[in-house]
């Protein structure tokens, strides 16, 4: 990848200043530039206290909904890239796995124990997803840091 970046910059110079650059080489470099510029992040996720709230809390955000939303977004982005393509045949689980969803961040501590259960659920259901926990030594209740 690093070599590809350098070759991209080299390609830019070659295209501009070396008319004798072979057409195949030039076309290859021009193809890689937009690809390199297109991706600015490795993955995405959600950071929210609501993930680790009790399921009967009105603010609770079920992680399953986030995963299915990512699958929908993945399919929508694929259609946007290529409108002429047929609708994705991937199932929700396949689309979720193919999506860029990569991490959840939520609190986990003795006063917010739901986070531990959630981490276990995610580990068992989606090993691909990384879990980041916040406030390991503190807790928040009703927007007040305890």
């Amino acid at each position: 990848m690093n070599l590809l970046v350098l070759s991209g910059r080299l390609c830019e110079w070659l295209v501009d200043f070396l008319p004798c650059t072979r057409r195949r080489r030039r076309r290859s470099c021009l193809f890689t530039l937009p690809q390199l510029l297109a991706g600015r992040i490795g993955s995405y996720g959600v950071a929210s206290d609501a993930l680790a709230l009790s399921t009967d809390d009105p603010l609770h955000l079920p992680w399953q909904l986030v995963v299915s939303t990512a699958a929908d977004a993945h399919n929508a982005a694929a259609r946007a890239r290529d409108p002429k393509s047929s609708p994705p045949s991937a199932s929700g689980a396949e689309a979720a796995a193919a999506s860029g969803l990569g991490a959840f961040q939520f609190p986990m501590n003795v006063l917010e124990p739901r986070g531990a259960e959630l981490a276990r659920e995610l580990h068992e259901a989606h090993t691909k997803l990384r879990v980041l926990t916040t406030r390991p030594l503190t807790a928040v209740s009703s927007c007040v840091l305890l």
Partner: protein, 261 residues
Amino acid sequence: MAAASRARLAFGTARLLEGSAPHEEALRAALLGGVRVVDTAASFGAGGAERTVGSVLASLPTEVSRSVELFGKVGYYLEEGAGGAAPAAATASPAPALQHSIAPSFLRSEVAASHARLGRRLNCVLVDSPERVLQPLMAQRQSALRVAAERAAEALEATQAASEAPEQGIGVQPSSSSGTARSPFLPDELSGGAQDAEVQSKPSASAARDAAKAAEADVARAEAALQGGREQVLAELKEAFVVLEEEVSRLGLVNHEVLAF
């Protein structure tokens, strides 16, 4: 310390002060000591935390900085210096000057601004608190519930005072001497006059019941608004995810890479 266990501890930058030498040294020491994940956000110090992280990473040996994973967050931003114009879809926050938005155009500008402040790409962008829009709706629902409870109690009291439902709760009995309602639990000298005044100040039983019904309708509207808010959260989250799907590099990510095109 084994390499696998190092990644289990991240350095949080919520309170990292830009220009603070001790804070920069703490981050540098943590990374040199084996921490390989940094958690930051565009809103931390109005971008100051990201600038500090970028500065410290640039000062580290290449083999160290290359191995550090950066997790960023977008959503909250400070009104000033947040690296972009305030989006139209912003929602108010209880904290002064702290706003929230996950509108697509705002996410794009925030990711680009974070990229510039850090001097490299983010390994992972976290959408911060997508449920934020629900908090004012929750407050409205709680307020409606409180008012409904008060109106229901008033209706019950008015009904009891009018002796329309003497079997409900604590009843009051008319006095044989004056004909006014008196409490069975208070001596006459305390309950008589005071209760006369209270009964006179109460709305009629039917008006109180109407007020209670209106308050119940307000609760139903607040519940419906909350349900609509939940649907809005998922719709906004999907829009945000579509943007981030477009931002995800399909060719992999190199941590030390700084594009200069």
